[in-house]
């Protein structure tokens, strides 16, 4: 499992991917009750090489879920609690004066961002200055401190959470930063059965131990191989045109934009949205056992990939029109090209 791609057949690689993904879901589910779709998106974002924004009220197990995923995959995990007084150096690290053998020198002390999986809890509570410090790390997988660039070890994924209720004293994420998240998933409250199961697991004496899928030493490489497999999944030209038409259809004034888009949106998705669509569709295809993307794979990825990239206008907010409803209209009305 997780062997080098040169040594196994393509069919075996596809089968391994499905197996690892399925086992990872199962392992996380040992500590997280419900939220299977969120877990799936988390793993999908990991294999796509993207980052994920999780929106939900406190106490739903966001931190536990990320920690469980990192333990399952054998990846390093760090958590950053964003507060208004959090400084960028608190995240990326700083130069510290150290003395060794009578010689004093500045030594870089990495911040919590140096991990495979970074949880930015309540990211909207930090100031924009601090939030933007994460931008470079998210996009380029590197940080620069005092002119020195430090690479982040792959795989690297940032999982940010934000509380949609307590908006006082928060700093909503700027559009540029929102666009860097491949998904935005919403965690809802657990159902009664799930809540009962949560109580049973967390208030009793039973301990659910997670079985890691990879040894920590070779986990990063295994994950990187799986990420490479995702990128090998093929997409036909008609499907690429469909993705382009989806992006155009969601852009006000764009080609094929439906009336609701022009009426309720200020801005549409960027090309990064199209990239996210294809990557997510590829993972969906692999999970279905295919090596080529289908229209259903794309349709399943549209809402989680694009919902946070649509900028609603005042009219939409006044009429309580959500970006999800607009995207559903786009899916319904767009014609799937055949050639």
């Amino acid at each position: 499992m997780g062997a080098a791609p040169q040594q196994v057949s393509p069919d075996q690689r596809v089968a391994d991917f499905r197996k690892i993904f399925s086992r990872a879901e199962s392992e996380v589910a040992r500590v997280i009750v419900g939220h299977r779709e969120v877990v799936r998106k988390l793993l999908t974002a990991l294999f796509c090489g993207g980052h994920i924004l999780i929106e939900g009220v406190p106490g739903l197990g966001k931190t536990l879920m990320v920690k469980a995923a990192s333990e399952t995959l054998g990846l390093s995990f760090k958590r950053i609690q964003f507060t208004p007084d959090l400084m960028p150096s608190d995240i990326i690290g700083t130069q510290v004066l150290t003395e060794s053998d009578g010689l004093r020198e500045f030594q870089f002390k990495p911040g919590p961002i140096f991990a495979h999986m970074v949880l930015g809890d309540e990211i909207n509570r930090a100031t924009p200055k601090t939030q933007s410090a994460v931008l470079e790390a998210m996009e380029e997988h590197q940080v620069t401190v005092f002119g020195t660039t430090y690479l982040l070890d792959p795989p690297y994924i940032v999982l940010a959470t934000q509380n949609p209720i307590e908006l006082e004293g928060t700093y909503p994420l700027p559009e540029a930063q929102m666009d860097r998240f491949i998904f935005k998933v919403v965690m809802g409250s657990p159902k009664p059965d799930e809540l009962r199961e949560i109580l049973n697991r967390t208030t009793g004496t039973a301990q659910n131990k997670i079985q890691p899928l990879f040894e920590p030493a070779r986990a990063p490489q295994a994950i990187e191989d799986l990420k490479a497999l995702v990128r090998e999944v093929m997409v036909a030209e008609p499907l690429e045109r469909y993705i382009i038409s989806v992006i155009g259809g969601c852009t006000p004034g764009g080609p094929g934009a439906i009336p609701e888009v022009s009426q309720y949106l200020r801005f549409g998705p960027s090309p990064r949205g199209a990239q996210a669509l294809i990557l997510c569709a590829k993972v969906n295809a692999l999970l279905a056992g295919r090596v080529s993307v289908s229209y259903d794979d794309i349709d399943d990825a549209i809402v989680p990939c694009l919902r946070h990239r649509l900028l609603l206008n005042f009219q939409a907010e006044a009429e309580s029109v959500s970006s999800e409803s607009i995207l559903e209209q786009v899916i319904k009305r767009l014609k799937k090209p055949r050639t």
């Binding site: 069919d11 999944v233 279905a288 080529s292």
Partner: protein, 501 residues
């Protein structure tokens, strides 16, 4: 394409068959289609059919082009097999006509895609999935074809109208012209057919003046006479040739029914027995009964039965008399129509030459004694005194206008003929009183020219026999009512009354 075939063929067939349908309507019901409108409808139907056919061809071509598209065909298969665009992806990356760059997009997973596509194709039964189903599209298109046919029937019913007498006459003339053209043996016959057609066209053309119509009809009559004379001459020449009797049987009571011109050449040998035969051909339709003759022994050129070797040809051809009869009727129609619709020149008072009578003394050489003075009372025409001026008195009492049986001719004094649109003859389909000689206005017969025996036993045609030159009319007359005007009572000339009644 299949959907377009039925409506298109229906429209074209109806367009082509419209004229025969019109003829059938004419023959069976006495109603005709307006020729110009029928022609326009026919053309429109044919054009519509062709347009539908062309549209079907265009759609079929587009469908063919679409089916010929590599990726589109793959999409079709993909939908059919429900394989989530795997075949489309495979076709995109394996398209032989695609540029090399598309092949460069193949990844290490392409063999997996290849194997999966081949496996999917294994479950494809092309004959079952792409079966040519003709029935369903034809059934669907038959609805449209039915609508086309219904619309055509309604349009035809709208175009049907009762024909005018001119139309009837023109139709008859055209039919005769067709028959002549079919059996034409010389250029004269063809010319005659053309003339008859021209006369028929002129008869129906309301824009032509009556004089022009008459001129066309007279041209046709002249051509008919000319053709008849030629035929007669050729017939006599042939019959005077060296014919041999072909009567081999002893007693021949053959009935040789010949219509038209007999141009048989009697060639045969009358062997023993009584050879018999008499050709009863001729220009008149009728039957000639072969007489019984005595022909003993070998009779070269004897009184054998002259075969009518053109019997078949002449059977369907109209006779010259019939033709002339129809032409005469056509001329009468023109005259009747002219009388009913006087032109602007014939309005009373328009003629400047009409007007006041010559006044006494206007002309120096004017004779005063023979002129009637309208102002002079008691100046009544006397029988015999002004026999050529027996004009009817328009204002007279009809009771006083009895023809007293004068021997001066058909004089209906006091009966001023008023031209009305009287239907003298029964229409096709009308049931009259039956053929009764009493109802006939004129009964004219023309005896066929019969061959006579000349010198030396040769059969020659009696060309000196008097021939009828006026067309006969023996169509049954329509019943007249007592309250009809005098001229509508079909008064029989006095000199014939004793003969008929």
């Amino acid at each position: 394409m299949l959907c377009a075939i039925a409506p298109a063929l229906t429209a074209i067939a109806l367009g082509v068959l419209l004229q025969p349908l019109g003829d059938l309507t004419w023959a069976r019901y006495g109603y005709a289609l307006a020729p110009d409108r029928a022609a326009a409808l026919s053309l429109a139907l044919i054009a519509a059919g062709l347009v539908v056919l062309a549209a079907g061809l265009v759609l079929a071509f587009r469908a063919y082009r679409r089916a010929n598209d590599f990726v589109a065909a793959a999409a079709e298969l993909d939908d059919l097999l429900e394989c989530n665009q795997e075949i489309v992806t495979f076709a995109t990356l394996a398209n032989p006509s695609a540029p090399e760059s598309s092949r460069a997009r193949r990844t290490p997973l392409f063999p997996v895609l290849w194997r999966r596509s081949i496996a999917l194709f294994g479950g494809l039964d092309v004959r079952r999935e792409f079966r040519l189903e003709v029935g369903a599209p034809l059934r669907r298109s038959s609805i449209l074809a039915g609508v086309v046919a219904l619309a055509m029937i309604l349009a035809t019913m709208g175009l049907v109208r009762a024909p005018t007498p001119e139309n009837r006459e023109a139709a008859k003339l055209r039919a005769i012209a067709e028959e002549i053209a079919k059996t034409a043996t010389s250029s004269d016959d063809t010319a005659l057919a053309d003339k008859i057609r021209a006369a028929a066209d002129a008869l129906e053309n309301s824009k032509l003046p009556p004089e022009e119509k008459k001129a066309r009809i007279e041209e046709a009559m002249k051509q008919a006479k000319k053709a008849a004379e030629k035929r007669d001459n050729s017939q006599s020449g042939k019959n005077q040739g060296n014919g041999k009797s072909n009567a081999q049987s002893g007693k021949g009571n053959g009935k040789s029914q010949g219509q038209g011109n007999s141009s048989g050449t009697g060639s045969g040998e009358g062997k023993a027995g009584t050879g018999s035969g008499q050709n009863a051909g001729g220009n008149n339709p009728g039957s000639g009964k072969g007489g019984t003759g005595n022909n003993s022994g070998k009779n070269e050129g004897g009184n054998g039965t002259a075969k009518n070797d053109k019997n078949d040809q002449n059977k369907g051809a109209p006779s010259n008399i019939q033709l002339q009869d129809e032409l005469a009727k056509a001329e009468a129609q023109v005259e009747t129509a002219d009388a009913k619709n006087p032109g602007p020149d014939s309005k009373p008072g328009d003629d400047k030459n009409q007007g006041g009578a010559n006044k006494p003394g206007d002309k120096p050489d004017q004779k005063s004694g023979s002129q009637l003075d309208p102002n002079k009372p008691g100046d009544i025409p006397k029988p015999g005194a002004n026999g050529d001026r027996n004009l009817p008195n328009a204002g007279g009492n009809p009771k006083n206008n009895k023809d007293m049986g004068s021997n001066m001719g058909d004089t209906h004094l006091g009966e001023f003929p008023t031209s009305t649109n009287a239907q003298r003859f029964l229409k096709p389909g009308d049931k009259g009183a039956g053929v009764d000689i009493k109802d006939a206005r004129y009964v004219m017969f023309r005896l066929p020219g019969a061959p006579t025996s000349g010198n030396g036993g040769k059969t020659v045609l009696d060309t000196d026999r008097p021939k009828a030159t006026t067309a006969y009319v023996n169509a049954p007359l329509a019943p007249t009512s007592d309250d009809a005007p005098p001229d509508e009572r079909q008064l029989v000339p006095p000199r014939y009354r004793d003969m008929i009644h």
